[in-house]
């Protein structure tokens, strides 16, 4: 890779958007070329300067209230039209329902598999933790605060590591309830994205390879290692969540 290519791809490299091959070539080039390395460094300095919370305009407190009242007004204005539609629908509904039962409900009677139920639980739990503003019971980036907090609340001791240096700072820990047992939820952050890492003792002795699933726009990674079952979930893109997964796997008990 020469400087011209490197300049073109440098920002994608800083943003971790390059594929593996180009990433390796870039790393090699940056070791050899002082000018490009300097530019990379100034890119990173700019990026961390932009991370200043003072540059992020949070919505003013009363905007929420204003919005809700203008939304209510517009819903009321639409209501008469909806009533007319409903009258018309009254006639069509019984027929449609019958068709629906035959087409959709009957095949569903078998119900989702246990795996699928578990995945849904993970997604729901993740969404709930974000919606209710209840991300962490113990808010701390210090692994030595978070880990002891779980003692006495769980019958196992989850591994807790801070990945701040790898770009995934630890936010805290939370007690959650999945698959009929209490589990540890560790919360990490990547820019505006949150990652929930659920950990509990797995039911089977054998290890399971990393499995990648997408549900409702969330990415999930699942694996089992040394008797523990892990689920990482986030709205983060797949590549970055995979990177997070790799860091955890490297640091977890083998």
């Amino acid at each position: 890779m020469d400087c011209k290519d490197a300049q073109k791809l440098l920002d994608s490299y800083t943003d971790r958007e390059l594929d593996l091959v180009h990433t390796l070539e870039m790393e090699k080039h940056l070791r050899e070329c002082g000018a490009c390395a300097e530019r990379h460094e100034s890119n990173q300095a700019l990026r961390s300067a932009l991370n200043d919370p003072a540059l992020y305009f949070k919505a003013p407190a009363d905007l929420q209230r204003k919005l809700q009242s203008s939304l209510r007004r517009s819903i009321k204005a639409e209501a008469p039209a909806r009533i007319r539609v409903w009258r018309w629908l009254n006639a069509a509904v019984p027929a449609a329902l019958a068709a629906l039962v035959i087409l959709i409900v009957v095949p569903l009677l078998h119900g989702p598999s246990d795996d699928e139920i578990l995945r849904r639980e993970i997604v729901s739990s993740h969404v709930r933790s974000l919606m209710a503003g209840h991300l962490a019971d113990v808010v701390s980036s210090d692994e030595h605060t978070v880990k002891p907090w779980f003692a006495g609340k769980l019958n196992f001791s989850p591994m807790v590591v801070d990945l701040k240096n790898q770009g995934f700072p630890l936010i805290g820990g939370r007690l959650d309830y999945i698959d009929n047992s209490p589990v540890a939820a560790l919360v990490y952050q990547r820019q505006k994205h949150y990652i929930n890492l659920f950990v509990w003792p797995s039911r089977s002795e054998s290890d399971a390879d990393t499995e990648m699933i997408s549900r409702q726009g969330y990415n999930l990674f699942h694996w089992s290692k040394a008797g523990m079952s892990y689920w990482a979930i986030s709205d983060l893109n797949r590549a970055e969540l995979q990177e997070f997964t790799r860091h955890i796997q490297q640091l977890a008990p083998k």
Binding site: D11, L63, M131
Partner: protein, 161 residues
């Protein structure tokens, strides 16, 4: 809590550069989107909602402040090798957030929005491409040039101060 309100306001605030206009933009965007609120909870909905905010802002800017969008920025002319030396990392670290804010506001809207979407909102290139309706390759080159311009603006300010 209405979903994604902070992100919506942040983007509108940076595009309009004015708190009152930003509130109006957010209100209008949410009114447009409210029919689909049921589907708004999933992760992709943040990108979708912000694309509505962005379109609302652009339509408004075209009607009320066409000068903001008129900055003729021919990507070919400005492409690549600017001869200006890369600003020293140390200088960037000295920049106050007020300086940074002024420099970012001075960028043309098309440049400002990619920086806001990537560095403040943390969207991927693919998501930015969808929100700003440009090809992913353009996201890459636009971000590179936007940051380069931003660094230059900051350095000028640091020299002037």
């Amino acid at each position: 809590m209405l979903p994604h309100l902070d992100g919506a306001y942040n983007l509108a605030r940076w595009l309009t550069r004015n708190p009152d206009d930003a509130e109006d933009m957010v209100q209008e965007a949410y009114l447009r989107a409210f029919r689909f609120f049921d589907t708004l909870r999933s992760a992709d909905s943040r990108a979708w909602l912000l694309s509505i905010v962005r379109n609302t802002c652009y339509t408004w800017l075209q009607q009320n402040r066409p000068g903001d969008l008129a900055a003729p920025f021919d990507e070919d002319i400005h492409s690549g090798e600017s001869d200006s030396a890369d600003p020293a990392t140390l200088a960037l670290k000295r920049a106050s957030h007020r300086m940074l804010k002024e420099a970012l506001e001075e960028l043309p809207a098309e440049f400002r929005e990619v920086v806001v979407l990537r560095d403040l909102e943390g969207f991927s290139y693919k998501e930015i491409a969808e929100i700003a309706k440009i090809p992913p390759g353009t996201v890459m080159s636009r971000l590179a040039r936007a940051r380069q311009r931003l660094k230059e603006l900051l350095c000028n300010r640091l020299k002037g101060s």
